[in-house]
């Protein structure tokens, strides 16, 4: 099979008027929430899940993916103009982007951020097209032990790369696993932790959990802080970068793209980690490290390319192995399940239109995003002036109606209130909800694969180390665990998160 032939077919599938519209809609929403601080892609995708109910699978996935990478574009706008991260992956862009804005180079910073993101998006699209099928055919040899090992690796990576305390992240993963066990156990048919509520027999519904933990907890913690009018730091000015800025940002974009693409594929990586790593790398490599923090253009170009590359390549584990490596991908699993698609190696062979259509849409989406972000920047800036007191009731209404519409069950709405409170408490106590969500999604899958492995080996646990692929993955997992224990690594990790 030829990659180009497949891509052409993908463009055919993605370029229908409706799918283009979904792509545009996703990119617009993504940019919007990227620009607005206080609402992230996880909450938004969870919020829009009910809407995708009525769409065909390709349209739904195109739209949801657009939200994620669109948010990476939008996030830089707020970071540069207001020194507020519109998105957590734009935190580092605040540092030098804002300084550039103070020097009157805001337009140029925005243009470089968008240009770098576009380049990274194109490269990442090609990477997915080239490597995903190879990885998927390799993964066809995978059986339950390999999947179990891979999921374990994913969870450990999520813990290592989580922001903050490692031990608390482990606790959150286990808590998520426990919540994931709710419902009917597949082997014995026994119901666990349902407290006699029939709505829980199929497990805790994903949508109210994600909306509560991410959407509502976000609103509640935001309202704990003082609201204030948001002020623009500077005029946008000319969008054209100078020759020197271009010259300096080109290599940074290349490095950022490479870094982001690699980290995105790793479980637990994704956009946030990529941007942090890229910033650190640029600072290390620069001949003028003293300029960082005072408006170094590399400090914008590198991270912004990296976060977009990372956002897109984090689809690879999902599309090839069916394993969500980040919370956003965990939500995409939810979206696929709603559409009746089992994420996994079979997607490429069984639903090539879906797979290639989605990849093609990513490229189209990136093209749209450059147009959405640069000439239309004024509109987004004006949206920033909408006060939060008008925004959060809209989010709340969307979530409530959405959660109810999934199953016409008022129980789910009440459950969502419970998760909102839980998410708020987590946030107050410095417990990251992201590892919890991954544990929740992977829990039942891991139990199932562990059990199947045991059946395969007639109850011999050595099956995990005898099989070469699963042994390799387990060794890598062990390596990650050792990394956490090593004080040297912990120090650099802490430094990386502080910057």
């Amino acid at each position: 099979m030829d990659v180009f032939q497949n891509l052409a077919a993908g463009f055919g599938a993605a370029a229908t008027p409706w799918n283009l519209l979904f792509c545009l809609f996703g990119c617009l929403i993504g940019t919007l929430i990227g620009v607005l601080p206080g609402i992230g892609p996880i909450a938004t995708i969870a919020m829009l899940l009910p809407i995708t109910f009525g769409l065909d699978p390709l349209g739904a996935l195109i739209m949801l993916a657009g939200i994620y990478y669109g948010a990476q574009y939008g996030g830089s706008t707020t970071a540069i103009l207001m020194r507020l991260p519109g998105e957590s992956s734009s935190v580092v862009t605040c540092i030098d982007g804002y300084q550039m804005a103070l020097k009157g180079r805001a337009g140029s910073a925005l243009a470089i951020a968008a240009g770098g993101s576009f380049f990274a998006g194109c490269v990442a699209t090609v990477l997915i097209a080239a490597f995903a099928p190879i990885l998927a055919s390799f993964a066809e040899q995978f059986r339950s032990p390999e999947y179990f090992a891979l999921m374990l690796f994913g969870l450990v990576a999520a813990v290592v790369l989580a922001n903050g305390s490692v031990i608390k992240a482990v606790g959150m993963v286990i808590l998520g696993l426990l919540f994931g066990l709710t419902g009917t156990e597949s082997q014995s048919g026994m119901v666990r932790y349902t407290f006699g509520v029939p709505e829980l027999y199929d497990g805790i519904d994903f949508v109210p959990l994600a909306m509560g933990l991410f959407g509502f907890a976000e609103i509640m913690t935001n309202l704990d802080r003082k609201e204030g009018a948001r002020v623009l730091a500077a005029k946008i000015g000319s969008l054209l970068p100078t020759r020197e800025e271009l010259h300096r940002s080109m290599p940074a974009v290349l490095r950022g793209t490479t870094m982001g693409s690699l980290l995105g594929i790793l479980p637990g990586g994704g956009a946030v980690m990529s941007s942090f790593a890229a910033y650190t790398l640029e600072k290390k490599l620069s001949k003028r490290p003293q300029e960082f923090g005072h408006g170094a253009v590399e400090g914008v170009a590198g991270p912004e390319s990296a976060n977009n590359a990372g956002a897109q390549t984090s689809f690879i584990p999902l599309l090839t192995l069916g394993i969500p490596s980040t919370p956003v991908m965990a939500i995409m699993v939810g979206a696929m399940t709603i559409q009746g698609i089992a994420p996994g190696t079979a997607i490429i062979t069984d639903r090539p239109d879906l797979f290639w259509g989605m990849i093609a849409s990513m490229w189209l989406g990136n093209l749209m995003l450059v147009i959405i972000n640069l000439p239309m920047i004024g509109i987004w800036v004006r949206l920033l002036q909408v006060p939060y007191r008008l925004m959060f009731p809209c989010i709340l209404v969307m979530c409530c109606v959405g959660a109810y519409s999934i199953s016409s069950s008022t129980f789910l709405v009440t459950l969502m209130a419970g998760f909102a409170l839980l998410g708020y408490v987590f946030a107050k106590l410095g417990c990251e909800a992201a590892p919890f969500l991954l544990g929740f999604v992977l829990g039942p899958l891991m139990e199932e694969n562990f059990r199947r492995s045991m059946v395969l080996s007639f109850g011999d646990p050595s099956i995990f180390v005898v099989r070469p692929i699963s042994a390799t993955i387990l060794v890598a997992t062990l390596g990650l665990v050792l990394l956490i224990v090593l004080p040297q690594f912990r120090k650099t990790r802490d430094v990386a998160f502080q910057e």
Binding site: S165, K168, I174, L177, L181, S188, Y193, R389, L396, V413
Partner: protein, 150 residues
Amino acid sequence: MIRVKNPQDFWAGLLFIAFGAAALWFGRDFPVGTAMKMGPGYLPLYLSWGVVGIGAFVTLRALAIEGPAVEPSRIRPQVFILLAIVVFGLMIERFGLAPAVAVIALIASFASYEMKIIESLMLAAGLAAASILLFIYLLAQSMDPWAWNI
């Protein structure tokens, strides 16, 4: 006198212990089985003890090592947000979509200290209209815009 040096971790640890203990208690009748023939209680048992253990460690560590305090909560926003969700659950089937949305939008706007009543009323009306348009007409969800089932 023991002093809590890291309040965030202290409470987080207790929360872990509470969840683990609850999972152990409610899962006490699940057949555990062995690693080779896992019963439905196998994973719950070990995961529960795992989270209890981590909770205990985090709590004890919080007595020894300094850490961040829990940021003070404002009561008003949290109460109104949670109230709005619960009220939606109570109203949607009895009164229909439009009244439920309008009422919870109004309740929710009380969560902000900066709310202005006229502005909130307009927002509530706008959201009610928008949700009928979006969910009933565009997405064709089976919900009544208005109802009276008390």
